[in-house]
């Protein structure tokens, strides 16, 4: 191929060309929807027109062939249109009711998994991990796979009190939505970075590396034209390594996975919430991370058992109280759970009213 005329600053293609006709026609005039099956819902327009959406799982890290397969299906049942969701699932948009069942059957035949609509687990917002990132304290895709395998029934069939949004981030940069998810995993380090004084002078900008440290643990080492780390102040966040590659921090034995829970994004009922720490560290045990999946299972089961209808994980915990959460889940309570960062004070219990 000889290279065609490159263009710049044209921005993305206009979305309109990608909207199926039924959507173009009923744009902004939808009336209501109904969830028909865990993977299928129908939206009804003011005009009476309907569009069926069939949602199919995707591992997000997909080959061009996967995309071509999806295109084949879309060509067959959806006039060549489809979309992805904000959680990386594929949605086939069908305007002809008679094509819905055949589409579903076709997907099943291809070994595809449908689900995730309604009060269920959906696909996991996640990150690059060992597949592509230099910063990763754990893998992302692998964790996603084992978690989704574990809870597949809650994707394809079973209902939960409400949606449970998982997220995975491979380091505390948290490129996923870990900080506001019902249940989230995040890769963590547990030892300070070891300055590579040979490389620091060339590779790193000293002031911005110092400023990157949330705890002020880094100071200049003028003699070496390098940096010093005060190990007592370092809590291994790895932010300095993002800024300065000559501060390697990964450690196969002490890196691992933390679990945070109870976050949410929607404004329904209660304000958006941050996730909170429940497991400070579980070992990195690829490829199956059994300690992690087990821990998540314990949390999810306690939620299913205890939550009322429409309660998100964080709403359930807020109702019963964190002291009760730790009691029910039998998660050991440690010094790591007690905040010592920016807003520590606001997390202390300033009331005599709590549960035994």
């Amino acid at each position: 191929m000889s290279a065609p005329q490159r263009k710049t600053d044209i921005g993305p293609p206009h979305f309109k060309q990608f909207l199926p006709p039924v959507i173009q026609k009923n744009y902004a005039s939808w009336k209501y929807h109904e969830v028909l099956r865990p993977g299928t819902m129908v939206h009804v327009a003011e005009s009476g027109d309907k569009v069926w959406s069939v949602r199919m799982a995707s591992p997000r890290l997909i080959s061009t062939d996967f995309v071509r397969d999806v295109c084949d299906v879309a060509d067959k049942y959806c006039d060549g249109f489809f979309r992805f969701t904000s959680r990386h699932n594929v949605e086939f948009l069908v305007s002809d009711e008679s094509k819905v069942k055949p589409l579903e059957d076709d997907l099943k035949k291809r070994g595809m998994v449908m689900g995730g609509i309604g009060p269920r687990v959906s696909n996991i917002v996640h990150t690059q991990g060992w597949v592509h990132c230099h910063s990763a304290a754990t893998d992302a895709s692998g964790l996603v796979k084992v978690i989704m395998d574990e809870f597949i029934d809650y994707f394809t069939t079973k209902e939960l009190p409400n949606k449970v949004r998982f997220a995975v981030a491979c380091c505390t940069n948290m490129c996923g939505a870990v900080h506001c998810s019902d249940i989230a995993l995040v890769g963590v380090h547990r030892k300070p970075p070891i300055p590579d004084h040979g490389r620091i002078p060339n590779m790193c900008e000293i002031p911005s590396t110092i400023a990157s440290c949330p705890t002020g643990a880094i100071s200049p080492d003028p003699a070496k034209k390098s940096l010093k780390i005060n190990n007592d102040k370092c809590m291994y966040c790895g932010n300095c390594y993002s800024v300065c590659p000559a501060l390697p921090i990964s450690d196969p034995v002490n890196d691992g996975v933390a679990i945070v829970v109870g976050g949410k994004v929607t404004n329904l009922r209660t304000a958006p919430k941050f996730s909170k720490l429940v497991y400070p560290w579980l070992p990195n045990n690829p490829p199956k991370w059994p300690e992690v999946t087990n821990a998540v299972k314990g949390i999810l089961e306690a939620y299913v058992k205890g939550a009322q209808k429409h309660e998100r994980v964080g709403e359930w915990i807020d109702r019963i109280g964190w002291e009760k959460f730790f009691k029910l889940t039998k998660i050991p309570f440690t010094f790591q759970h007690i905040d010592d960062f920016t807003f520590a004070r606001e997390t202390f219990r300033t009331t005599a009213a709590f549960k035994w």
Partner: protein
Amino acid sequence: MPKKYDTPLLDQLEKGSYPSFVTEIKKAAVKHESANDLLGALEQCYKDKKTHWKHGGIVGVRGYGGGVIGRYSDIPDQFPGVAHFHTIRINQPSGFFYNTKALRELMDLWDHYGSGLTNFHGSTGDLVLLGTKTENLEPLFAEVSSRGWDLGGSGSAMRTPSCCVGPGRCEWSNIDTLDITYSITQEFQDEMHRPAFPYKYKFKTSGCAVDCIASIARADCSIIGTWKGDIRIDQDAVKWYAKNGMDINAEIINRCPTKCMSYDGKELQIANEDCSRCMHCIAKMTKALRPGKEKGATILIGSKAPFVVGALLSWVVVPFMKMEPPYTEIKELTRKIWEWWDEFGKNRERTGELIERKGMRNFLEAVGLDPQPAMIREPRRDPFYFWQPDELK
């Protein structure tokens, strides 16, 4: 391409019902040496329990300062196919809608110039082409751009805006999320491709407070559709829900955060002046309840991941803004915000962090907004605060 490596650890992740990313890498590995070597390199990570990637140097396409994430293996001799393995961020179309023609074309190009591996999508929203060599960047860019695609953002720039499906398929959307996202992206092409900010700046737009794009948690500027006026009630549909087994008091009335609803077994009533538009009742009774008719958006600023000062959620800075093309108001506000941030922001300081550091007053005055109770959850507690000379006697 024949199989190059034994991957006993990764192979275990091909079992189980959920679709496997390992299977996907293997599919690409059939055609691509790089994907084949990725498999080997990843198996190595699984064995060593650590990453084998190095910091990327600066790579990219001519005239752009972003859109490509450089990436190098730290064991290139072992896995030469991924010695360089850069990702390209393609700006996705609003709402992640595609047609098969356009995508097939793109996939063909990617099989030609890259690893055959992608992310649909990155968590910012880009269509991520995962892994290629430096020398392929220019030709690939020429190909895709000539076909109407452009790169997304990276580095200290405006990042690729994204949005929920909105008016494309959702009955609750108060604003045209797709169009707003397109319009903002076009308006700020320069700011996206030529990083010149203190740090990244993200936009996310949701049609309503359900916030299906998680804008309030992950965008320096979160645009969330909302309404004024009364929630429209279809009492017949209320009856339909009751008949179909919904316990309206338990599920709706008692869960309304402002306790502004009542239901006497027949009629559902809402004291709209007390409704906070949280969307719970509407979401759970979509046939019976619909948002009010005057449409607009709440603009919230500041959310981000935890570094350096802890994770932030976006906070309200404009309680209600009309959102009509060409969206002049939000664009002007954005320019003012950037001007202020450019002037005062430190390197790697996000907008929210700067507002926190300089104080909300400083920010609001700089961008020309008046203080309003909607901006705060509660007033300050400690009675120390600044006065400007003109407020004194």
